[in-house]
Symmetry: C3
């Protein structure tokens, strides 16, 4: 069984946002898979997907604080500045965290750990809606 | 051919630990795959999997030194401190290094480079045993 | 449909290099896939693959500047120094950026976003040619 579908994630401000519910809601065919995988892929270069703690909003706030500090806007070595001070740091953060996730599927559900949730990491101040190409494959019978 | 199995990795202290042997020993069905892939997925938010140099223990020691320096416990911007000073840095390190690996399988074996080994990156001081969900798929005939 | 093939990437100097064209040229069977995935895997521990902006050479130059600053050669905590000052930073950068990519395939082409390109991230000064093991799988009919 193969399925490929583009999902559109609503615009989010710069920061780390839990989107597990939107992603699962957009992929009802997950329920048909007994065993398989889901590949989630952002078609962008200034946003990321990662898995992390799904309960405390302060964890997501601290993610933003850390990455803004670790990849500073005012670093003297940036030469690519045409699109604004958040642009080059957004590219770097995009690659540090990565633009895709491959997740296991078991008995019709994403096989995430209890505390794992999918984060959309929006690295631009005004990134707009984000296109996510999802691919599911595996054995039917969920 | 599809196989999905939970492996449990023994508790390790904070640091970077070579676990290639345990993972391969837990997946004897690798030998049945002529060509395919192995997806290894930690169901946690404060540990990672990565591939790196499999020979020198000093490489793994330097990994710990680097990540403890790059993601400091005493940073002024942490607000999520309830679970101890190693908690929030562990979440960040978890996402910097990632919680899963997708590895090629050829002729019944993981097709790793000569110097590549699988690291369990334990970011907590007392993380305990870690659950790894492994998924194998491909063409039989190894 | 399954295909696995080793590609050899020409030697590159330390830095970030766009290799989308070489990779696609080495995998003409992409054209046979209606829907599927491509897994690209470096069999090394001191180089990476990432996706990022495919237009401006200054973005790739800034990637090098950032990572050379974030993972300094002269850090006091390196103990693994036998293979030269660029060795241990190369291992760390290798794991920060990762050694593999999983890319969606649609209608016979890599389904990349408009601005996405494949970067070979060469972390050694003299890394030489790099072996990339590519695995394609999916449904034929592209």
């Amino acid at each position: 069984m193969w399925l490929q579908r583009e999902l559109v994630l609503d615009p989010h401000p710069r920061g780390f946002h839990l989107v597990t519910r939107e992603v699962v809601a957009g992929l009802p065919e997950l329920g048909d898979l007994r065993v398989g995988l889901a590949h989630l892929f952002l078609q962008h270069t200034s946003a990321s997907l990662t898995l992390n703690e799904n309960a405390s909003p302060d964890v997501r706030r601290d993610f933003r604080a850390y990455f803004d500090e670790a990849v500073p806007e005012d670093a003297p070595y940036w030469t690519h500045r045409l699109e604004g001070p958040d642009d080059m740091p957004a590219h770097i953060k995009g690659s540090l965290l990565g633009i895709s996730l491959t997740l296991p599927v078991s008995d019709g559900r994403l096989a995430l750990g209890t505390w794992q949730g999918i984060y959309l990491c929006e690295h631009r101040d005004d990134g707009g809606a984000r296109r996510l190409l999802a691919t599911l494959w595996g054995e039917a019978g969920g």
